[in-house]
Subunit: 517 residues, 2 copies
Amino acid sequence: MLADYLQRREKLIAEDRALRIDHVRANYSAAEIKADKVVRSIRAKEAVSVWGVDHENIPHPYPGMEFLNAKEIIVKTDLFSKIVSKMPKGGLLHLHQNTSVEARMVLDLALGHPAIHIRVPGPLDAASLETVLPKIQPIPVEQYPAADAIGITDLLYTGGWVPINKARELFDPALGGPAGFDKWVLSTFVINPSDAFKTYNTPMKIWLKFGSTFAVTDPIIRFVPIQKEYLRTCIRSSIDDGISYIEIRTSFFKKYILAEDAKTKLELRELLLIFREVINEVKAEMKAKGREDDFAGLKIIYNTLRIISVEELEAELDRCSRFKQEFPDLIAGKSACKPLIYYAEPLLRFAEQHPDIPFIFHAGETLGDGSAADMNLYDAILLGTKRIGHGFSLAKHPKLMQICREKKIAIEVCPISNEVLRLTSSMPMHPLPIIMNQGIPVVLSSDDPAMFNSMGLSFDFFQVLVASEVTGLLTLGQMARDSITYSMLDERSKRKAMDAWERRWTKFIDEVAAMSP
Amino acid sequence: MLADYLQRREKLIAEDRALRIDHVRANYSAAEIKADKVVRSIRAKEAVSVWGVDHENIPHPYPGMEFLNAKEIIVKTDLFSKIVSKMPKGGLLHLHQNTSVEARMVLDLALGHPAIHIRVPGPLDAASLETVLPKIQPIPVEQYPAADAIGITDLLYTGGWVPINKARELFDPALGGPAGFDKWVLSTFVINPSDAFKTYNTPMKIWLKFGSTFAVTDPIIRFVPIQKEYLRTCIRSSIDDGISYIEIRTSFFKKYILAEDAKTKLELRELLLIFREVINEVKAEMKAKGREDDFAGLKIIYNTLRIISVEELEAELDRCSRFKQEFPDLIAGKSACKPLIYYAEPLLRFAEQHPDIPFIFHAGETLGDGSAADMNLYDAILLGTKRIGHGFSLAKHPKLMQICREKKIAIEVCPISNEVLRLTSSMPMHPLPIIMNQGIPVVLSSDDPAMFNSMGLSFDFFQVLVASEVTGLLTLGQMARDSITYSMLDERSKRKAMDAWERRWTKFIDEVAAMSP
């Protein structure tokens, strides 16, 4: 009786998981199967040895817990340092450009350029430090303050521009001096645990903090000499994390970038020229090192903001198609965020006129059931989106899941972003397994990693791996493959990128399989 | 172009929602449609007027927020006081007996009986008050302490039994006197916000608190004179909340109840006699008031604990079938909680021998993906469960959802329990809409309402109603209908209960439809 029962049980489990990408692919190599076992064994051990014990200042540790609290533990695990961080990740397909470089690096770039100045409303003290947001931006040389300008913590300071380096040097020692300056500025660049879990602990509130950090860093990045170095750093650090291709969402909402003189407003076309230059430069660099497999390129997804009118969208669509004509390899697609139904008419027309520019919409980044952001899923799909950004609420929609499965619309799942922005309280609460088990292709993405202090893809991959006993290394491998399959690379480049990834994967798998579990 | 688009959009939304219970039923009356609109309008207004403003001591209010923080706001809303609390709820199908009466009432029952005594390890002070759990139980008269016994906060107290009334009277005024005593004792009976959101803020940790409260109240309830009053209160207060039928899970893990003399251990058969007596009493009471429609009865689901061995289970199954023979109307089914696969053999045999005693298993009350509690779902279904208790992780299992839909296995969803026990951080994060949209029957249940301070079903219904823009009053109505359809009532009693419910529903709908929205 029991034997028969166990047989029926095996069959039912297999049927239940039949649609998962890691079950659809069946011909795993012996090394892959061995490596997967090694990883499951390390994960099971560390569930006890790392996540089952108390850590100083980290209440209630568990696998997949809040990332901002868990990060120091994560980086010390073998699973992270020996496995996930070494894995070839494939493509990073959902990344906002203005949060694509680590906060510390952005501050260093700002400190490294003499045009960058800082301003606050009046002298900073211990109390105002908690709430004041600085303005940091390049200013033209004729506006530079006199050389004897005082610091922003000086009682005589009246709110004018101070060179950022000087403001740092002169920062009141009682507030920590230069190190205190860095700590304060960086806290305005990122979301801190106290923001996410106390001050702004709801999906609605955390957006306030989210918006404020963009406002602080944007003028630094929108400056040609820094922009160039910023993009270079983004690509290089991604490559270091095992990412071999990037689709970056760039907002063209502000209509210029600032030239080296900090005065001349350059057209956005100049920004695309910078992209092309830096991409070619890094490609040449990788080729010179014999590492061509490690970087297949970068494309831009033309992003617009949720707040524009239909007329403004028409102008944006126009600019997007002009850019596509001039930079056909650089423009991957078009993304928009407002309730899509509002823009249905111009978008339908654009789709008809420009079959070469696919839509890649954000939709369903919400806890709502039937709310506007949730309803966007219907429109994204009806408008023909190639992928869906976030799709967090997709699990509620059986018919839409069926369509995504059948039409191979991949979901760009951003685990850490969803958790820090409070759509889910921890990774085990995330709907990712629901989506995966429905046979819908998934690519893991980092969204705004600078803001979450989660650079690269390793942290997102890690959180997914520890939050499930079904998912294993081979699942992550399939997701990496899918990130190339569902990229906007042309067919030839895609095959090339996939071949390169497979070579790296085989090498990686051999290394993992050789570890003693 | 747009007109065609909008038409396709309507069609897609309808297809996506086609399986929902509130869409399957189509022939709503004009009054039902009107009442649903009234409710949606009140909900939309209060989303702004109540949930959109700050409340003292309640950070970040929003609809569906943590129940323990939200309760004071909820009871003041029109949606709760004028609509949800008045609605006929149908059956309450998932309720643990030992948490079925409000904590304050249990304390009053204890204070009302001279045999009930209290004991703590030594004199209580402000510090130990935070951590010490009292022992409260009936003791035989010959063990009563001398009449001049001192209080439990007296420095000379050495840890003996004190009559609970006396302990209350003598409670140190510096610790609040009798009111301070009540506050302290009640805090050991329930889960407080600080337990759920601070001290034990994970699904693993909160179980510690959960278990401790059972240990405190169990000896009070397991005493015949109190047991009787306890059950009477449970039924009466449920009726007051619009519940007309109850299936209560009673644990037969401890093998006796204590007689009036606080000495004689009575067989559990006596407990069933008490049930029969009280049920008949309340039925007669309702009949005398002309309110027969308001109570269709109560059945017991024979519950076992997760910790027993296979041999112990065999004995339990044996007792269960003997009880079913003697009390055929009283025993609704059999429920067990440990990894079910462990018990597969005896359960399979029992099912074959006792087709009259259906299984009603807990399964999937977990955030795990592939964990033992998650895997229980496969076994519950293979073993032929009639309903699933919780089924929280069911959304991850496409094949199992299909089976539940086809075989009409209803899910006993316990919204507030899941949230307080930290499976979900708020109602909008709950997977209920996923399950509903897959066409799986759902009954809302309260689980352990005394522990969550959520007596009745109104609070659970309310949280579900405010957390979705798709769900409306008619959805709640269908859930109430389903709670009768998927009850263990025999066919004749079911029809009778349903007819009674429909009469009450029609009256309720007319009242709501007459409200100005």
